[in-house]
């Protein structure tokens, strides 16, 4: 077993990869980032301003793979003999293969569901008997955040989350086309239908034409603001759960859990008997190539080799705003404004944790509810009110907004965004009197990088709100623009 393996891997799948010239054990099917973590390697790339970065918090992970620069290590699987090297953010491949690209495919369906978590699955199961559906999921698995959990979840009985997901998706019928490892570039209104261009793992562009669209796009982890929060060895909640429960790899031998919702993490760490300490008030992490210690605001020093941000999640507001939706601030987060049938506008529905933070089972119910609305629109018998009643049993959870300790933090070292935007940069602009997030974006580059603000825009709003006293609900949040997820230019360059 490798230093951080939690489970024995299948020996027949064993391969060798070379990182910076040294041989390491890996297993077929593993992502590069996970294989390297299992071998105790955290530092994979260097930001434009020279900050060392790992794979499990914000920012991109470009690497040199077999001599090719700028390969996304998060999405690339290991192969035997693979040569891996670090690179900086700005390195790119100057000579490229030129081909005509793959011809664009088209698919016509009744409903396009973006997001394959419990909500998306719920919608599919509700409508599949009468309508054709395309289910688009960015990850390589269905089940979304539920799939990452190791412990049984409320509402689904005593079954393991993976069992629940397998059972539900096992019921999909021939009306359902499932696209895993697939990103959606946006939702475009064509009058007669909605165009949802998607890109599958093999760089295939498919134009889905759908009469209705469901945004079951989920929520994203909150980024906790402390010094060196971008350092290799810092994990977002969902990345931690993924390495543990999907890949059977530990984040480290001894870890610290920070943030307002440690209980979401500690139970999972207990399950794997990983030693941890809960530190509610982190100030700074330090280390040479990776996290070696955490220091809290009282000056206590904890020797750890990873830090987990357990700060809860907030709806991913990018897909709804790109599709033309408006936002409102409720329960500690921005959420799309919905009509009485869960629509941001005619034809576009939202369900699951994209609407509000609540248990997985409630998200599943909400997916079914939206499915029922759609069925009724198409003239089939459906009983949305039954689902609506059951959904009422689940109050949306409030998420605590971090109170930033501007006085004691070295703002220079706190990263608000993965693209070299420090809290200092944003705070300086806000304190100069500029409080419009549009201008802050332009002056600091906040929300203008790879994540389109998914992980930083909220904290940018928090800075404005806390520095000026303006309530969060009064701030004007910039809308997302296509593509919703980064796409290589060659994919959209193909001509029909």
């Amino acid at each position: 077993m490798r230093p951080l393996d939690l489970t024995e891997k299948e020996p027949s799948r064993k391969v060798t990869v070379y990182f910076e010239g040294k041989a390491y054990e890996a297993y077929e099917g593993e992502k590069i980032t996970v294989a390297l973590l299992a071998n105790g390697i955290y530092w994979l790339t260097t930001s434009t301003e020279g900050r060392k970065r790992g794979a499990f918090t914000f920012g991109p992970v470009p690497m040199v793979v077999n001599g090719t620069r700028n390969v996304n290590a998060r999405k690339t699987k290991v192969r035997d003999g693979m040569r891996l090297e670090r690179q900086g953010y700005g390195d790119f491949q100057e000579t490229v293969e030129i081909d005509e690209g793959k011809p664009v495919e088209r698919l016509v369906v009744d409903v396009a569901v973006i997001g394959g978590g419990p909500a998306g699955i719920g919608t599919v199961l509700k409508v599949q008997d009468h309508l054709t559906v395309a289910l688009v999921e960015e990850k390589g698995w269905l089940g979304g955040d539920l799939w990452l959990k190791g412990l049984p979840q409320k509402g689904f009985g005593e079954k393991s989350p993976q069992e629940v997901v397998r059972e539900l998706t096992g019921k999909f019928n021939e009306n359902v086309s499932v696209f895993k490892g697939t990103i959606a570039l946006g939702v475009f209104d064509k009058g007669e239908y909605f165009l949802v261009p998607i890109v599958t793992g093999e760089n295939q562009l498919i134009e889905i034409m759908a009469k209705r669209v469901v945004l079951a796009v989920g929520a994203v982890d909150n980024i906790h603001l402390f010094e060196n929060n971008d350092m290799p060895g810092v994990f977002r909640r969902s990345d931690l759960l993924e390495v543990l429960n999907v890949w059977g790899v530990a984040p480290g031998r001894k870890v610290a859990v920070v943030g307002s919702k440690p209980e979401e993490i500690t139970a999972e760490l207990d399950r794997w008997s990983i030693e941890y300490i809960v530190v509610p008030n982190p100030k700074r992490v330090e280390g040479d190539e990776k996290v070696e210690r955490l220091i809290d605001t009282n000056g206590n020093v904890y020797e750890v080799d990873a830090v987990i941000m357990a700060e809860g999640r907030r709806p991913d507001i990018n897909p709804p705003t790109q599709a033309g939706g408006k936002l409102v601030f409720k329960h500690g987060y921005y959420t799309p404004v919905l009509d009485s049938q869960h629509r941001i506008r005619d034809g576009i529905y939202v369900a699951g944790s994209a609407v509000s933070i609540k248990p997985h089972y409630a998200n599943y119910l909400e997916g079914r509810l939206v499915g029922a609305y759609i069925l009724r629109e198409f003239g089939f018998d459906a009983e949305p009110c039954i689902h609506a009643e059951r959904l009422k049993e689940y109050e949306p959870e409030a998420v605590q907004v971090q109170s930033i300790d501007f006085g004691s933090l070295n703002l220079e070292d706190v990263q608000i965004c993965g693209c070299d935007v420090s809290l200092r940069k944003v705070d300086d602009v806000v304190r100069s009197g500029i409080t419009d997030l549009q201008i802050i974006k332009r002056l600091t580059h906040l929300a203008m990088g790879f994540c389109q603000g998914r992980f930083c825009l909220f904290n940018g709003a928090v800075v404005v709100s806390q520095r000026t006293g303006t309530p969060m609900d009064r701030l004007d949040i910039p809308v997302a623009r296509p593509p919703l997820k980064n796409v290589r230019m060659k994919v959209t360059a193909g001509r029909d």
Partner: protein
């Protein structure tokens, strides 16, 4: 630049706080005039906010070449004085057939006549300037090393700051609702934050110029329509990878360059409208990817981070309307820049300030005569791109 109280009166009021309005205010204030800019959102928030960075002197008529020659002198002067970045990294027009080469030879002759040092260069010379170029189909290029680029928002902010230093007032989040007119004379403007008394108004609202003209009751036909143009930005790459603005008429009227931050930015000719809608379209994403990767194949493997849209305020000959409107005293217009207003701003500011303070200017203002549309005297269509 926090928003200020609306003054009770001001000698001159400029409607519109984009690069044009702000540079005019800067020029007037510097000359000692009392001037106020009224902007409905924040300074630089309209098309300036969405603009592509390019500054070029490679036009195809005498007037635009002269104006841009002056403008580049001013870009140089003010970027040094006020400390914003203006890089003279050149403009490179890629040419693919004999007709294009002939046309550019004519343009280059006009440019050279006014001291703009454009040259026709070989494909290999072009590749020396931008090593990433695919020159397999290029037969020549038009190259002027004194063209350049600047960040539209940063430069507007610096002009604004210095306009204020010279005494101009910049009022943000204030929208003009109507004109107060008595006997053909402007008495003031009604805004959502009260009335401002003034005798002289300059309409610098570009895409919204029509609306302001209507409020002023102008009968003269000045056709300015908003068109949706879009832009793209890629992931940041090593600085200095694409220094000049690279232009290809053959490939979709594409323009592209690298920003100071490192991303490759640009657009294509793809135009929608007239419309005030600004939602980016999927068709643009396809077009821009196809054309850009033809010009620079290495872009194939770069990630597209974002697209956005902005207005070209277009006139029928792609030249702005700049001048005094005689039917109302004293009303001026500087609008309809048709996609190349940012680069012209410092010279236009000088031109308008001359007209307002002296009634005449040494710059060739007649070319932009607002009455030319009504007279049916359209100009040679200006090169619109980048």
């Amino acid at each position: 630049m926090p928003s200020k109280e609306l003054p009770e009166r001001s000698e001159i009021v400029i409607i519109g706080g984009g690069i044009i309005g702000v540079t005019i205010a800067h020029e007037l204030a510097k000359r000692g005039e009392e001037v106020t800019v009224i902007e409905k959102r924040f300074i630089g928030s309209g098309s300036t906010f969405r603009c592509g960075t390019g500054i070029r002197q490679q036009f195809n008529d005498e007037s635009n070449v002269q104006v841009m020659k002056r403008s580049v002198e001013l870009w140089k002067k003010y970027s040094e004085e006020y400390g914003f970045s203006f890089e003279q990294t050149g403009y490179l027009f890629l040419l693919y057939d004999d007709d294009e080469v002939e046309e550019f030879k004519r343009n280059i002759a006009i440019q050279n006549r006014f001291g703009v040092p454009t040259r026709l260069i070989t494909p290999e010379e072009a590749k020396d300037i931008v090593p990433l170029l695919d020159i397999s189909e290029v037969i020549a290029a038009s190259w002027n090393p004194t063209d350049g680029k600047a960040d539209p928002f940063h430069s507007t902010a610096k002009f604004a700051l210095n306009a204020e230093r010279f005494g101009a007032k910049l009022v943000e989040y204030t929208e003009v609702k109507d004109f107060l007119i008595e006997n053909g004379e402007i008495k003031g403007l009604k805004t959502n934050r009260g009335v401002i008394r003034t005798g002289t108004v300059i309409n610098a609202t570009n895409a919204w110029a029509k609306l302001i003209n209507a409020m002023a009751g102008i009968k003269t036909k000045i056709p300015i329509e908003p068109y949706k143009h879009q832009a793209v930005i890629t992931q940041p790459i090593k600085k200095g990878s694409i220094n000049p603005m690279v232009i290809s008429f053959k490939y979709g009227h594409a323009y592209l360059t690298q920003t100071a931050h490192g991303g490759v930015v640009g657009g294509v000719g793809y135009e929608l409208g007239p419309t005030y809608d600004l939602s980016p379209t999927y068709e643009f994403l396809r077009e821009v990817s196809y054309y850009f990767t033809k010009i620079i194949p290495a872009l194939r493997e770069l990630l597209i981070l974002r697209t956005w849209a902005g207005y070209y305020a277009k006139t029928p000959d792609s030249n702005a309307a700049i001048g005094k409107i005689e039917e109302l005293s004293d009303y001026y217009i500087a609008a309809g820049f048709s996609g190349h207003g940012f680069m012209m701003a410092p010279a236009v500011a000088e031109m308008v300030a001359d007209l307002v303070t002296k009634g005449r200017t040494d710059l060739p203002a007649a070319w932009y005569d607002p009455y030319r549309f009504e007279r049916g005297e359209l100009r040679t269509t200006a090169i619109q791109m980048g």
